[in-house]
Symmetry: C2
Subunit: 212 residues, 2 copies
């Protein structure tokens, strides 16, 4: 295993493999071949092996991969073997739904604080919907609270016009990872990471495929 730049597509596939392996583990399957895993994830078997080869040798020739073992290794590679503490900024329509979207909570990604320009109004609305409400702070407390609660990822769910200034606040608070749901291009300094979730881009993509 020599150093190489790892394709982003490989990382996305590892995430899929991870999910499939979890299912397999639940079903009590002990061993899996690259062909079986590939089949389940709808990719090429050589692709699975190549993806893994970027990070080491995890299989046994003639046998395959031990499910639990491979899963642990992939989680270690992805960094998904730890709890990630997240902050939500913007508790409007989209924001409050992210709070309510329990799929996050099952995983190792947890929203441990939320911020808004108008927190009191929002607390009521949120706690109404949730068993275990997330505390909503005024936006001007971001730096203080993210430090205190060891927050590493920020979810931007504000209107697009506010996205960049919220990103700036997160940068100032040294929150290095940003997941941006606001349909706006935001920029951050070296060392910070932004991933966008733009529903409209995906819908446009679907529209294109349906029109052709």
């Amino acid at each position: 295993m020599k150093y190489q730049k790892i394709p982003e597509a490989t990382i996305r596939r590892l995430s899929r493999y991870s999910r499939c392996l979890e299912e397999m583990e639940e079903k009590g399957e002990k061993v899996v071949s690259s062909a079986q895993l590939a089949n389940k994830c709808i990719v090429n078997a050589a692709q699975v092996r190549k993806d893994l080869a970027y990070f080491g040798e995890f299989g046994i020739r003639g046998v395959g991969y031990y499910v639990r073992d491979l899963l642990n290794n992939i989680k270690k590679i992805l960094g998904s073997n730890k709890e990630w503490r997240m902050a939500l900024i913007g508790v409007g329509n989209l924001g409050s739904s992210l709070l309510a979207y329990k799929d996050f909570l099952k995983q190792n990604y947890t929203i441990v604080a939320a911020f808004d320009i108008d927190p009191p109004k929002v607390i009521g609305r949120v706690s109404e919907k949730l068993g275990k409400p997330v505390e909503v702070f005024h936006i001007n407390r971001i730096k203080e609270v993210t430090k205190e609660r060891k927050i590493e990822i920020g979810l931007i769910a504000t209107p697009p016009s506010e996205a960049q200034s919220v990103a700036n606040l997160l940068v100032e608070a040294e929150v290095r990872g940003i997941l941006n749901f606001a349909p706006a291009q935001i920029t951050v300094p070296e060392g910070f990471v932004v991933k966008d979730v733009f529903f409209t881009i995906i819908l446009d993509n679907l529209a294109y495929l349906l029109s052709n």
Copy 2:
């Protein structure tokens, strides 16, 4: 302009160009060069020209592109110059938030019906949050209602265990486009299109980048 397979990345970029051009049009800018547009979208200028070249010649040498003109052309290419009527299936946490997520409504993508296994409970909850509530039907009326309301895209926001059977219903109802928010692999016949929105894959991606 001869026929070629068009990269999916090109389509995604066209969607970004479209957004940028809309902003420019709002600002009253009439003409834009590939370099300016590229700069705004953080891509290479040659990339912009190559992407457009798949579909024709839209610029004027020595001048650039007319903003409105290019925007219209891109929308025509993407199929985003028409209204797309969508159905939401699964009005739980995620689903009701998609209903509330106004960004859809501003655009040419509209949710015109929703479905659930337990519609009455859900209607109350949704209308509470919305000015203009979307009618929620029992899931067994999908075929009838999608036909009646000319629905072309289905949003799956059910628990993962139900995703495939909902997809099957949509296929049966000849809803050719599916946007799948449920973290489950679904398969559809030739001629149908599925796009996945898996938050956990994106988060895993972020986690990886933050860990390395």
